[in-house]
Symmetry: none
Subunit: 400 residues, 2 copies
């Protein structure tokens, strides 16, 4: 594992192209049949690619650590996930094209349902449709409290971003989301004393929202979490000399990609439109991050068979990717989300790196179990970018 | 590999249980038959467990480094063995229930045999019985030199602890044990000038001992090593939120376990009594460190067949362990002690982690050679605790 400052000294601009296909939560676990989701799925195209690639398993942060999407993506992109901490609020807000400034404090919001006693009965307000979310956000957007301007912006379904804009706001705040139903939303408290004025404003905001939404059904309250201010990440252009693009559907992933310097391309709403977007834009960039969300959502829902079908669906689009003939193809996940666990997990993540210059191994199938014997062995996710860059001829020799 | 301070933030108390079974010096090397001690032994119970576990090889400190028992155990327990240095003297002394204070300087002592010229002819004085050791220690215990009080306490067989209690004592001292027969015991010299008063006292002590023991046979002299003062380790309770217990027979291992916060349970004198102790106390703790010494002692004696028999003996007790149905079982060694080498070695160490949530691999046999293809790959010993904690549901997700 190498520091980015070191890579920056070795990286050079070339006209070769890298595609990193991230199936979110890709890694799985065996169900009662003794096979994982990947192993149950039929994916002849991924298998064919595995035969001419170098394969292995990676740990997003470190063996045994279960990562959130922020740290796991940072690691895939070659950043130290322990050095850069990115709050959910910032990620969501960047993903909705909001012009975030250094004065801004963002939080992720969920519309939720509370009963007459103020107790949470549904943390996601029945996952209200995005149209309803837009309607409610209009009622809440544009408040001002103690000279702090407040923006409330729709993300998707029950999720929104709230941005507080003012001088000296701090993100040293704890969530109001108790993460459980049957409890009341928490008052926002500080983790550092200097954040007390910010906590006061946030709590006043929540009280006003409660008043405004009291007659809404089912979205009659909000839960806030992941308070965060701007984080300055080194850019792909600078560290890797890449012109990178992001193809993703969900806001958070677009937000993170932008933080790294990627241009977000409009990608439609389906796996098929994402691959079509890749094809259309292939000449314009030299690095593509393509994000598939559905492997993770099916895993989180504990739906083994749906995750199997998503993997099969992605496999059908692989010929579009290989047909473009990129110099390097990375296929991996950001972490594992085994359906049998129904959540992000610590299990190592399958990773495949194809290039004409890779020293391919004996792996003939795209499978966690097969990848154990792959030529990459067990690596840290942070090692993937340097390997890909070298395979693309984008890293000079170190030393004489 | 992750810092403990980081794990401390993620760890939570749960009612799941982890058992870490450490067969000291477990890893071996092939003898002329082409098989290691583990591979020669018949261990159907370990094999059955391997089939439903994730297996691999670990390096206690770093590839190629041969560790002592202190660093190798620290690493197994998740501590950085390069950050914390624990002298043998401290470990032995803690293991004998001596109330060690911050004013104390301890060393490990061996009774040895010297000839009329003062040359060492047996570094272990024929491994005198513990009863004889107790008798000699009584003669030496309780001296006072230059206002420093000196305690001499039996450990086992030819081994004892000596503790110097006084103001400003330093452990920057070299061993008096030349580690070879045919040489004279060395004068204790300093590694830092500030330790000169301590060196003077230690050398005076050794001269007095020589005088007192001159007519003893075979234990007519002492060798001192591992001078050490108190080291404060973070506790399992604090870092991992565990209530840990230690089941071990030899003092040093009990001592180290106590330093980490473990409660030492009386465990009898045999492998069978150790497993019985585990069973009796299973409801009282949520982490058990069970230490088997005999794999190491047989390896150190170069006795391949005895080591094979010890492994077979442990295997017979495995059903007691699995019958308790712990959430996570770790079976490993602290380092390798191949009988063909007859000493601790640098060879990687087999490690098996069982849990219902592990992504098991294709390994069907408990064997170094088979474990090469295990799903854990080659990890650092320090990664074992985080993996086990996650499998037990004891680590929260990192980041949003």
């Amino acid at each position: 594992m190498i520091e980015q400052e070191f890579l920056k000294k070795l990286s050079v601009k070339t006209d070769t192209k890298i595609v990193m296909l991230v199936m979110d939560g890709l890694g799985g676990c065996q169900n009662e049949s003794g096979e994982t989701e990947i192993e149950t799925a039929k994916h002849p195209n991924l298998d064919n690619l595995a035969k001419i690639s170098i394969c292995g398993l990676s740990d997003p942060v470190s063996p045994g650590i279960t990562p959130g999407s922020g740290p796991s993506h940072l690691a895939l992109f070659g950043y130290d996930p322990l050095k850069y901490e990115i709050g959910r609020g910032l990620l969501d807000t960047l993903g909705i094209d909001f012009e975030f400034t250094a004065d801004d404090l963002a939080a992720r919001g969920n519309f939720c349902t509370v009963n007459e006693k103020g107790v949470i009965t549904d943390r996601r307000a029945g996952r209200i449709p995005t149209e309803k979310n837009i309607e409610i956000c209009k009622k809440l957007d544009g408040m001002e409290i103690d000279s702090v301007k407040i923006f409330v912006k729709t993300v998707k379904e029950h999720r929104f971003s709230v941005i507080f804009r003012g001088k000296n706001l701090s993100d040293k705040l704890q969530d109001s989301d108790p993460q459980k139903e049957g409890l009341e939303p928490l008052d926002v408290i500080v983790t550092e004393k200097s954040a007390e004025p910010s906590a006061k404003i946030v709590n006043k905001f929540v009280q006003k929202v409660k008043e405004v939404l009291k007659d809404e059904k089912p979205a009659n309250m909000v839960l806030l979490r992941g308070f965060s201010k701007m984080v300055a990440l080194p850019k792909f252009q600078d560290i890797y000399k890449l012109t990178p693009a992001c193809i993703a559907i969900y806001p958070m992933y677009k937000g993170l990609a932008q933080l790294c310097g990627m241009e977000v391309i409009k990608s439609g709403d389906t796996i098929e439109t994402e691959f079509a977007t890749l094809k259309e834009n292939f000449s314009k960039y030299d690095f593509f991050y393509v994000h598939i969300k559905q492997t993770d959502s099916s895993g989180e829902d504990g739906d083994f068979n749906r995750k199997v079908r998503v993997i099969e669906q992605v496999d059908k689009s692989i010929p579009i990717l290989t047909g473009l003939n990129p110099d390097v193809i990375i296929i991996t996940g950001d972490h594992s989300t085994p359906a049998v666990i129904g959540a992000h997990s610590w299990h190592s993540v399958p990773v495949l790196i194809y290039s004409k210059k890779c020293r391919f191994d004996k792996v003939e199938k795209f499978s966690e179990t097969e990848f154990i014997s792959g030529g990459l062995g067990r690596i840290l996710a942070r090692d993937i970018m340097p390997i890909a860059l070298s395979n693309a001829g984008k890293l000079l020799k170190y030393g004489a």
